[in-house]
């Protein structure tokens, strides 16, 4: 279960995909759509991905995780399309024999996804304005 999806992400299904009898530690991370960034209110997000490359990079992240930790079960899903507040945008689940590796691997996985996977979000504001979020943009008010 690694890749992009335009369907709602079901956390129970993500967890079920990584549960194994030889794993005593299972960590699930959910990234959900937040209504406030700084003092800027958001009513919805649109995610756009470069699909082929996104899934290729997610495969590279999987290889890196498996090299560094004894990962037995791994699920990594990113939603694309239009999302409302509270919707799950990204889900990562990791199972390992012991808990500390599962926490470490899951933390690293979400950092790498945010850093490397070509997926962009557009914030839709209550006044109808919509802007792409590209880091290193000057904060609002400085322009």
């Amino acid at each position: 279960m690694i890749g992009l999806t335009s369907e709602a992400i079901d956390p129970a299904a993500v967890l079920a995909a990584v549960r194994r009898p030889d794993c005593g530690g299972v960590v699930l991370f959910l990234g959900t759509v937040r209504d406030l960034t700084g003092d800027q209110r958001t009513v919805a997000l649109d995610y756009e991905a470069y699909g082929g490359m996104a899934e290729k990079v997610m495969g590279l992240i999987e290889a890196e995780l498996r090299e560094r930790w004894p990962v037995r079960g791994l699920a990594m899903l990113h939603r694309v399309g239009h999302l409302d507040i509270g919707d799950v945008a990204v889900a990562i689940a990791v199972s390992t024999p012991h808990r500390s590796e599962a926490f470490a691997a899951c933390h690293h996985a979400i950092d790498r996804v945010k850093e490397l996977v070509p997926i962009w979000k557009r914030e839709n504001r209550p006044d109808g304005e919509a802007t792409w979020v590209h880091p290193h943009d000057p904060p609002p008010g400085l322009l």
Binding site: E48, Y50, G52, M53, K56, D111, V113, K114, E115, L116, V117, P118, I119, W120, K121, R122, W132, V133, H134, P135, H136
Partner: protein
């Protein structure tokens, strides 16, 4: 038949500034730096933003000196939330 153009895909703000999701650049092999110049000539709306974008060739990030050949798929990638660095 050999492809004669380089297909460039554009995403997020780059797509909106260029007012299209794809540009076809005719011509032979060129490096990434040349492609950036050609792209701005083709879609001037990108001028102020393109230097903040990464370039991928066949789904791998590419440096300024990387060569692009007709038939390659190029993508212009605006910064993602965690940054490219």
């Amino acid at each position: 038949m050999e492809p004669r153009t380089i297909r460039v895909r554009l995403f997020a703000r780059a797509r909106e500034l260029a007012q299209r999701g794809e540009v076809e650049l005719p011509g032979g092999p060129m490096d990434v730096a040349t492609l950036r110049r050609r792209l701005i000539a083709e879609a001037p709306g990108l001028a102020s933003f393109l230097d903040r974008c990464a370039v991928a060739v066949n789904e791998d990030l590419a440096g300024a000196a990387s060569m692009i050949r007709p038939g390659d798929e190029v993508a212009i990638l605006p910064p993602v939330s965690g940054g490219w660095a």
